[in-house]
Amino acid sequence: MRLSSRQKAILDFLQQDLAVSSSPFLALKRKLRINEDEIVNELVNLKRAGYIRRYGAILNHRKVGLKENCMCVWKVSSHVIKEMVRITTDCPQISHCYLRKTTREWPYNFYTMIHGRSKAECLNIIERIAKASQVSDYQPLFTIKEFKKISPRYKF
């Protein structure tokens, strides 16, 4: 599916902050001169086609009490990856799981982003994962400071 100019305009609009009003698509409707049903249809299509990963409120996790964030990196052998994926993706405190390339200096291939109320809570989760997966080579890299965090705004 190639994006039409209308779809591009809708995606651009949705990357901004939706108006807090009963009809938040009014401005877009005026701009594109199409009705709101068509806008919603396109939205559904874009979501189905995978262009929109998520639609809704994006929260600041620090402000809802999840003050500590840890990127835990793991060295997982290939035959354990499946089990590791099962354990980590099930965990509600983990938002991201990635398999990444390694380098000579950096042998860790499995990445998990863990969010907790405290460091202890994050470490508990990590220990639980280590125990369940039998993976013993890992490094918890806590966030000391957030230098930048934005929703990237893609231009079309």
Partner: protein, 148 residues
């Protein structure tokens, strides 16, 4: 935050309706009135609890290649390097972490050249020696919906 507010926030996060009048539909679902919901949403935004309401566009679907980069920056150079990294529109997340590689950021671009140019700049002009470039091989979970 009381239970009702928590319920409103989690619903806004994970069940925001794809409809013409999302707040009206959401209010109905939560059995509250729309005006009250709108005032709560405004309040959550004012307090910074909600960053924004809208769509997260899939960078992969747009053909962007994302990498995670970890670099080792001496304390006295930190400020300058961080502002150099933050000024790139290809960087959306950048953190200080407790590790020999202390600065970690994501870099996403459509053309590979943007990454190679950026890394060359770091190495040559900014004199950063230790650089880990870690492309994703597989994404298993990406769900920044928080339970709290």
């Amino acid at each position: 935050m009381n239970q009702k507010e928590k319920l409103i926030l989690t619903t806004l996060q994970s069940k925001f309706p794809l409809s013409k009048h999302p707040y009206r539909d959401l209010a109905r679902r939560l059995k509250i009135n729309e005006k009250f919901l709108l005032s709560k949403v405004s309040q959550f935004k004012r307090k910074g609890i909600i960053r924004r309401i809208g769509a997260i566009v899939s960078s992969e679907r747009l053909g962007h290649k994302g990498v995670l980069i970890g670099i080792s920056v001496p304390q006295d150079k930190l400020k300058g390097i961080v502002s150099f990294i933050n000024s790139s529109s290809c960087v959306s997340h950048n953190y200080l972490r407790d590790c020999e590689y202390n600065v970690w950021f994501t870099f996403s671009a459509k053309k590979k050249k943007e990454l190679t140019d950026f890394v060359r700049d770091l190495r040559k002009n900014k004199n950063i020696r230790k650089i880990l470039i870690l492309p994703a091989k597989k994404l298993f979970k990406l769900n920044a919906e928080f339970r709290f």
